[in-house]
């Protein structure tokens, strides 16, 4: 028993510094993202105020907020969680932790370069791919290094069993370099001609925002849910089925219904979106059979609650995706806020909240220090849920209203904006709560990082001064 404990402690400790850099920087960008999102939404309250400074206009701030959330928080947090899950499932400490530490710093530098690029007007102009070359090259190499290290740990694992989490996370390690290099080469590096650019950008955006986050988020959930519920994943074969259907149907969609491209592209896209209902049902069944009625931990506003909440958000978000491919509804909701609401539900409601739950579970174990403000964890979860509801519900409702107005030729365009504005203003309140939630998370994580640095500094100081210390001299 003690041998096992030591080895678990060693495994946790081996991940400590890389995870602190990935999560610490990630949470910093998370706060940056929600500040930017609040600034962007202020445009809907007082558009007049933002005319003198290009850095404050919606077209700069909104993409920056989106990218700070996805590239700044979601991806590094996902990679950190993946590194730890590999090490734990394989019972193998992470070797050469220096490399992922350097890579994590490179990643955060890439995000910084990319965001400054957007504000400086160097955006590529494609959604989710806005970062200019310098930033995207850094991100690509940082990801390669991190995924290489995760794969080395995976292939050298001592526990040879292969778990569903493994499939999802390994696929995600390969997924990003593939889609990111393809999209950057064909759109930014050597641009293809005409609307093919847009087709590639849609394909990429869907593969990153939907497929990648689903792979990593579900990979983490399939690890944590059975652990917390005290019941094995129900079942292995459902998970296998979900894995293949999700990546096959999920990866071949993203072209909107009315796009000015040959009709087979939107048709194929819609078909695959509709077929996604198959893995979504299977995922819901897995969640239900694994969690409901299990005699595991109580949720109590902690990690378990968050991951369950994230799981439900995933099902809702994916159902919205399916709905937005249905024949009439797709025409109604395209170009409206409905799509933006789905993206927020996927990125924040599902992915970020699943990551919060994972981080709250992982960090105290790898650092060996408890959180300084444990009561804030529950408060943070409430703020996040409230904020998410306040953001997504008005946008879904508003999206449908806006769509109905846009469909009606007797309503002037200004009518659709007018109907939408009050709801957009309500959604600012949601963003404000999300900002508070993110600040609460940051508070706990930064306090932990400071406490850890302090303990390291103390240990170093003690080690340096120890041999020379004389009795009576305080070290």
């Amino acid at each position: 028993m003690t041998v096992n404990e030591t080895s678990t402690n060693q495994i946790d400790a081996s991940c400590r510094v890389p995870l602190l850099v990935l999560f610490g920087g990630g949470v910093f960008w998370l706060v940056v993202s929600s500040v930017l999102a609040v600034v962007a939404s202020l445009t809907f309250h007082m558009p007049e105020k933002f005319g003198d400074c290009p850095w404050l206009t919606y077209g700069h701030v909104q993409p920056a907020a989106d990218d700070a959330l996805l590239y700044g928080f979601c991806i590094p947090a996902g990679l950190g969680v993946a590194l730890w899950i590999f090490a734990r499932l394989g019972q193998t400490p992470l070797r050469g932790a220096m490399v992922p530490v350097v890579a994590a710093h490179l990643w955060h530098l890439g995000v910084l370069v990319g965001l400054v690029g957007i504000f400086a007007g160097d955006s590529t102009g494609f959604q989710w791919l806005e970062f200019p070359r310098g930033g995207s090259a850094l991100l690509f190499f940082a990801y390669l290094l991190l995924s290489l290290w995760a794969l080395m740990n995976f292939s050298g694992r001592r526990e040879s069993g292969l778990f569903p989490s493994h499939w999802f996370l390994v696929a995600a390690l390969f997924w990003f370099p593939w889609i990111y290099s393809t999209a950057n080469i064909l759109i930014v590096g050597w641009p293809v001609r005409g609307v093919v650019q847009a087709v590639i950008a849609w394909w990429f955006g869907n593969n990153l925002v939907f497929v990648w986050t689903s792979l990593v988020g579900l990979g983490a959930a399939f690890y944590f849910l059975p652990k917390f519920a005290g019941r094995p994943l129900q079942t292995y074969f459902y998970a296998l089925f979900v894995f293949w259907t999700l990546i096959i149907f999920g990866s071949m969609r993203g072209v909107p219904v009315g796009a000015p491209v040959p009709a087979w592209l939107p048709a194929l896209s819609a078909l695959n979106s509709l077929l996604l209902v198959v893995p979504v049902i299977a995922i819901a069944v897995i969640g239900w059979k694994t969690v409901v009625g299990a005699a595991g931990q109580e949720c109590k506003g902690g990690s378990f609650c968050m991951i369950k909440f994230g799981f439900v958000s995933f099902v809702l978000s994916a159902l919205m995706l399916v709905a937005s491919a249905c024949p009439y509804f797709s025409r109604l909701t395209q170009f409206t806020w409905f799509g933006a609401a789905q993206t927020q539900l996927q990125l924040y409601g599902f992915f970020a909240i699943t990551m919060f739950g994972s981080i709250y579970h992982i960090l105290p174990r790898v650092v060996g220090i408890e959180f300084a403000f444990p009561k804030l964890i529950r408060l943070q979860h409430w703020c996040a849920m409230l904020g998410l509801f306040g953001l997504v519900a008005p946008l879904v409702l508003g999206g449908v209203v806006q769509g109905l107005k846009l469909e009606d030729p007797n309503v002037a365009f200004a009518g659709s904006t007018k109907a939408m504005l009050p709801l957009l203003r309500v959604s600012s309140l949601g963003l404000f709560f999300l900002l508070i939630a993110n600040l609460l998370l940051a508070l706990n994580i930064f306090a932990m990082i400071i406490a850890w640095k302090w303990s390291v500094a103390k240990a170093v100081f003690a080690a340096v001064t120890a041999p020379l210390a004389k009795p009576g001299v305080k070290a």
Binding site: E48, T57, S123, T124, P256, P260, V261
Partner: protein, 238 residues
């Protein structure tokens, strides 16, 4: 990929080809459009539900009475393609000469955003292609045809609410310069209404970025009838 190797196509009933590259200034304007993230709020994708046909009599032929009697019994406007063909056949049999005019239908078309839906050809020479995905502001695929006045566009960029009440668009004042009037006022100075005008003795002139952006906006008029998006161009008003 065929789409990636797309080339210019013929304009229907004409010897012209489409599209032509945008003028240099407009291409620079596209970069301003990209840099300022205009596509975050504006789409360039006009949607179309279908087409409707009007049958128009061009010559009554030898038996004008028969033809006019026949026409009075027939529905001539808002027909489907098959109906239009049938009606044309009947009138032709009676000796009249007809033309079939095709119109795109749908809310976007009715709003005047374009004469047909956007097609891949419209963006052949654009880099980057800025289709957009969210309509916080109106679609811009045909803005150059709808609002062809460069001064209106400049004024609208500088102070949207001076022209469109309740507009949610932020003003782009940083694309303009407020300068002291030295000697004669600049010919480029904006003719702003009182509420938005600079202090006396000053004038607002567009920076090159603003003129380029407007050149791009005015170059947006995807209004050529094509094989994959046919319509009958309206006769020019005299």
């Amino acid at each position: 990929m065929q789409l990636g190797g797309a080339k210019q196509v013929a304009v229907l009933n004409s010897s012209d080809v489409y599209p032509l590259n945008r003028p240099g200034e407009a291409n620079q304007g596209l970069q301003i459009y990209r840099a300022n993230g205009c596509a975050a709020c504006h789409t360039e994708q006009v949607q179309q539900e279908g087409v409707a046909c009007d049958v128009v009599l061009t010559a009554a032929g030898k038996n004008p009475m028969v033809v006019s009697n026949l026409i009075s019994t027939l529905k001539l406007k808002g027909l489907t393609e098959q109906e239009a063909e049938a009606v044309s056949g009947k009138i032709a049999a009676a000796g009249g000469k007809v033309e079939t005019h095709i119109f795109a239908t749908g809310a976007d078309i009715a709003r005047g955003w374009g004469l047909r839906h956007s097609v891949a050809e419209d963006f052949l020479y654009d880099n980057p292609v800025q289709l957009g995905s969210l309509r916080i502001g109106p679609d811009l695929a045909g803005v150059g045809a709808r609002l062809p006045d460069a001064n209106w566009q400049l004024l609208h960029l500088y102070a949207p609410r001076s022209l469109v009440k309740d507009s949610a668009m932020p003003p782009f004042r940083y694309l303009f310069e407020t300068q002291k009037i030295g000697g004669a006022p600049s010919t480029d100075a904006l003719n702003l209404s009182k509420e938005f005008a600079p202090p006396a003795g000053y004038e607002v002139v567009p920076k090159p970025e603003a003129t380029e952006l407007v050149a791009y906006l005015l170059s947006l008029h995807a209004d050529m009838p094509l094989y994959d998006a046919p319509f009958t161009p309206p006769t020019p008003k005299k």
